[in-house]
C-alpha cells in the first residue's frame, strides 16, 4: 500500500513538471517575460494583476511567469529576481518593494542586457536610478495625501490607519500622506493589523473602543478594509466614520453602496500588469517604448461611479 503510494507520488512529481515543460515549449514562438512581486501568497489583491498578465500574454502571444516570495520576505525576492535573470527572459517586470535590498539584483539583470520595467511599489526616481526603462504605478504618498484631503473636507480630525503590511515602506508613506493632509502627527494612529482577518477585526475594534474620538479610518487594502467593514456592520456604526480605503474588492464595493465606505482609492492594478507586458513586447519586437512613466492612480471610486466598477471587482478592477 505504502509502496504503491510512494510510486504514485514520485510518478506525479516527475510527470507534472515534464508536462509543464512540454506546454511551455508549445508557446515557444512568443517571448518569455517574468513578473516578480513582493506580495506574500496570502495577499488576494494580486489576483487582478495575475488576470491582467494572463490577458496580456494572450493578446501579445507571449508567455508571462508570475513569481513572488511565499512569506513576503524582500530578501527572498532579491534571490527570485537573480534567478529570473539567470533564465535569460526577454524582459523582467518587478516591484521596488525595498530599493536597497533589490538594487543589486535589478541592476544585475539590467547589466545582463535584460530590459526591466518597474511597477506598483517604488517611485519614479528609484526606477530611474536603477536604470529601468519606466515605472508604472501610483505615487503612494500623493495617493495618501489625496485621501487625507477628502477626509479633511469631511471634517476628520482624529483617524486610524489600518496597516496590514507594515513592513513595506510604501504602506507607511500612505498613512503619512493622509496625516500630513490633515495637518496632524501620524503618531500611534497607525496600527500593525497583520493579515489575519480575525486579528484585524479585533485590533481595530480595540483601537476604536479605546479611542472614541476617532472619526476617520484609512485602510490600506482589502486585507485591512474587509474585516473593518464587517466590524462596522456588526456594531452598527456604519456612518460614524469617514472611511477611505485603498484598492477594491467585492466587499469594499458593497461597503461603498451601503454608505459604510466613503471612497476607495483605485490604483487600477490591471494596468500595472497589462501595460508592462505590452510595452516590453513592443520594445523587444520593434524597439519602441514610451518616454514617460505611467501613473495608473489615484482614481477615487465613490457611490457615484460604483455600479460600473462593481461588476468587475476582484477580477479586473
Amino acid at each position: 500500500m505504502l509502496k504503491s503510494f510512494v510510486k504514485l507520488l514520485s510518478a506525479a512529481a516527475v510527470a507534472v513538471p515534464v508536462a509543464l515543460g512540454a506546454a511551455s515549449v508549445a508557446h515557444a514562438e512568443g517571448e518569455r517575460f517574468v513578473f516578480v512581486s513582493h506580495a506574500p501568497d496570502t495577499d488576494s489583491w494580486w489576483n487582478v494583476i495575475k488576470n491582467a498578465l494572463k490577458n496580456a500574454a494572450a493578446d501579445t502571444k507571449t508567455s508571462v511567469e508570475y513569481r513572488n516570495p511565499a512569506t513576503g520576505d524582500i530578501a527572498d525576492m532579491a534571490r527570485i529576481i537573480e534567478q529570473a535573470a539567470a533564465t535569460n527572459p526577454a524582459g523582467i517586470i518587478t516591484t521596488i518593494a525595498d530599493f536597497d535590498v533589490l538594487q543589486s539584483a535589478i541592476e544585475g539583470a539590467i547589466a545582463k542586457g535584460i530590459p526591466v520595467v518597474t511597477v506598483n511599489s517604488g517611485t519614479a526616481e528609484e526606477s530611474k536610478k536603477l536604470g529601468a526603462m519606466m515605472h508604472i504605478g501610483q505615487p503612494e504618498y500623493d495617493a495618501g495625501k489625496g485621501a487625507g484631503e477628502r477626509a479633511k473636507a469631511a471634517g476628520v480630525t482624529k483617524f486610524l490607519c489600518v496597516n496590514h503590511y507594515i513592513t513595506n515602506v510604501a504602506s507607511v508613506e500612505r498613512c503619512r500622506g493622509y496625516a500630513d493632509a490633515l495637518g496632524v502627527e501620524l503618531g500611534d494612529q497607525m496600527i500593525d493589523s497583520t493579515q489575519d482577518p480575525t486579528q484585524v477585526y479585533n485590533k481595530v475594534k480595540a483601537y476604536l473602543t479605546t479611542h472614541p474620538d476617532t472619526n476617520g479610518i484609512l485602510a490600506l487594502g482589502p486585507n485591512s478594509a474587509e474585516p473593518t467593514i464587517k466590524l462596522l456592520r456588526d456594531t452598527g456604526e456604519t456612518s460614524k466614520y469617514n472611511f477611505i480605503t485603498f484598492d477594491l474588492s467585492a466587499d469594499i464595493s458593497a461597503g461603498i453602496k451601503d454608505g459604510i465606505v466613503n471612497a476607495a482609492i483605485d490604483q487600477q492594478p490591471y494596468l500595472q500588469g497589462y501595460l508592462p507586458v505590452v510595452f516590453l513586447t513592443q520594445y523587444v519586437r520593434y524597439g519602441v517604448m514610451p518616454a514617460n512613466n505611467v501613473n495608473t492612480g489615484p482614481g477615487f471610486v465613490t457611490k457615484d461611479n460604483i455600479s460600473l466598477v462593481e461588476k468587475l471587482a476582484g477580477e479586473y478592477r
Partner: protein, 371 residues
C-alpha cells in the same frame, strides 16, 4: 568468515565489534541526504537543463540560497543532535539585523561596534534560552516558541520606537569600504572569475564583466561553519558530549558529561549562526527589516531532518544537514527554473521534499538493514 571474525574479536577486546569500511560508510546518517541530493540534481538536470539553471549565474543563485540555509542548518543540526529545538532562529535573524542597523544609522555607532554588539546580544539571548530550558526542564519547543514571538515583537516595537519605521535602510552609507562589509558581503576569488570569463568558461556581460563576480562571503561562511561544526561533532570530546546529551541526558550526566553547559552552548551556537546569517544579509542588502527571517527556523530544522537528524536527538550529522540545505535550496530555486506555474509552487516544493525524504529514508534502511 564469521568464525574467524569472532575469534579475532575475542582475542582483541570483546567489547569491540569489527565492521567493514563499506558497511561503516553506508551507516553514515548523511548517506540518505547525499542520495536525495543526487536524485534532485538528476530531476532538475532533465526538467530545467536548458534554462540557465546550470549556467554560472544560475549556479550562483541556488548555491547562495543553499549557503544561507547551511549557516542556520548547521546550528540547528548540532542543537537537534544535542536533543533540543530552537524555534527562535528566524526571529533572531530579524532582531540581530536591527541590532546592527539601528545603532549604526540612528546613534552614530561605528558599524564594527554595532556588529560586535549584535553578536554579543545574540549570544546573551541564546544563553538565556538555554538557561531557561536547562533550569526549568520545560520542552525547548515551548521556551523558544516564546522567544520566537518576543524577539519578533521586539524587532517591530523597537524599530518603530527608535526609527519610526520597520525597514531601516541606509546601512550601506556607513558600511561601504569597512572590513566588516568585506568580511560578510565581499566576493572572493574575483580574479579567478575574470580569468574564467576571459577564457570563455563562464559567460560575460555586455559591459565585459564576468557573469559571476566572485564567490559571495555568505557561501564561504557556510562552508567554514559547516566544517568547524563537522570537526567538533565528529572529532572532539565536545562532539561526544553533544551526542550523549541528546541520546540520554540522565545517562550522560551520570558519566560526568556537563549536559547543562553543553545545551546552553548549543543554544548560543544557533543564535550565533542566526546572527552570521543576519549580518551577511544586512551587509549585502544595506538594510534591516522587521520581517526578515520569517519561517527560517522551520527551513533550518527541515534541512537538518532531511540530512538525517532525528527529531528525538542523539543522532545526525553536520554533513547531512549541509546536504539537506543543498536539497532545500536547489528544490526551492529549481522549481522556478522549470517555469512551473507560481500558484502551484508550494505544492511542488512539498512534493519534491517528500519525495527526497522518502527516497533518503528508503536508501538508508536498505543499506543499514534497519527496520
Amino acid at each position: 568468515m564469521a568464525d574467524r571474525e569472532a575469534v579475532l574479536t575475542a582475542i582483541r577486546d570483546e567489547r569491540l565489534k569489527r565492521q567493514s569500511t563499506l558497511r561503516r560508510l553506508m551507516a553514515m546518517p548523511e548517506l540518505g541526504a547525499i542520495a536525495g541530493a543526487i536524485l534532485v540534481f538528476l530531476f532538475f538536470g532533465v526538467t530545467a537543463g536548458g534554462t540557465g539553471m546550470f549556467a554560472a549565474d544560475g549556479v550562483l543563485n541556488w548555491v547562495t540560497v543553499a549557503g544561507q540555509l547551511t549557516i542556520i542548518a548547521t546550528g540547528a543540526a548540532l542543537l537537534m543532535i544535542g536533543g533540543e529545538f530552537d524555534l527562535s532562529v528566524g526571529s533572531m535573524i530579524g532582531f540581530a539585523g536591527m541590532m546592527i542597523a539601528i545603532p549604526t544609522v540612528y546613534f552614530g555607532v561605528p558599524i564594527e561596534l554595532s556588529v560586535l554588539f549584535a553578536f554579543v546580544g545574540a549570544l546573551a539571548i541564546g544563553f538565556l534560552n538555554g538557561l531557561i530550558v536547562v533550569r526549568t526542564r520545560l520542552p525547548s519547543f515551548i521556551v523558544t516558541l516564546a522567544s520566537l514571538y518576543i524577539l519578533r515583537g521586539m524587532t517591530i516595537a523597537l524599530s518603530i520606537l527608535f526609527a519610526n519605521r520597520t525597514i531601516v535602510s541606509g546601512v550601506r552609507n556607513f558600511a561601504d569600504g569597512t572590513w566588516v562589509q568585506a568580511l560578510f558581503a565581499g566576493k572572493a576569488f574575483s580574479g579567478l572569475f575574470v580569468w574564467l570569463a576571459e577564457t570563455g568558461v563562464i559567460a560575460t556581460l555586455p559591459n565585459g564583466d564576468p557573469a559571476v563576480k566572485g564567490i559571495p562571503a555568505v557561501v564561504l561562511w557556510a562552508a567554514g561553519l559547516a566544517l568547524i561544526g563537522h570537526v567538533v561533532l565528529s572529532r572532539t570530546r565536545l562532539g561526544n558530549w553533544i551526542f550523549a546529551s541528546g541520546g540520554d541526558a540522565n545517562a550522560a550526566r551520570n558519566v560526568g558529561v556537563p549536559v547543562g553547559r553543553v545545551k546552553i552552548g548549543l543554544f548560543m551556537t544557533t543564535a550565533f549562526c542566526a546572527t552570521v546569517y543576519a549580518t551577511c544579509q544586512v551587509m549585502e542588502f544595506g538594510s534591516a527589516a522587521a520581517d526578515r527571517g520569517l519561517l527560517k527556523e522551520f527551513e533550518a530544522i527541515i534541512a537538518a531532518v532531511i540530512g538525517g537528524c532525528l527529531l528525538t536527538g542523539g543522532y545526525g550529522s553536520v554533513v547531512g544537514a549541509v546536504f539537506g540545505a543543498l536539497i532545500f535550496g536547489v528544490v526551492q530555486m529549481g522549481i522556478l527554473f522549470t517555469g512551473a506555474p507560481n500558484d502551484w509552487f508550494l505544492v511542488f516544493l512539498g512534493l519534491m521534499l517528500l519525495t527526497a525524504v522518502l527516497f533518503n529514508n528508503v536508501v538508508r534502511r536498505r543499506v543499514t538493514g534497519e527496520r
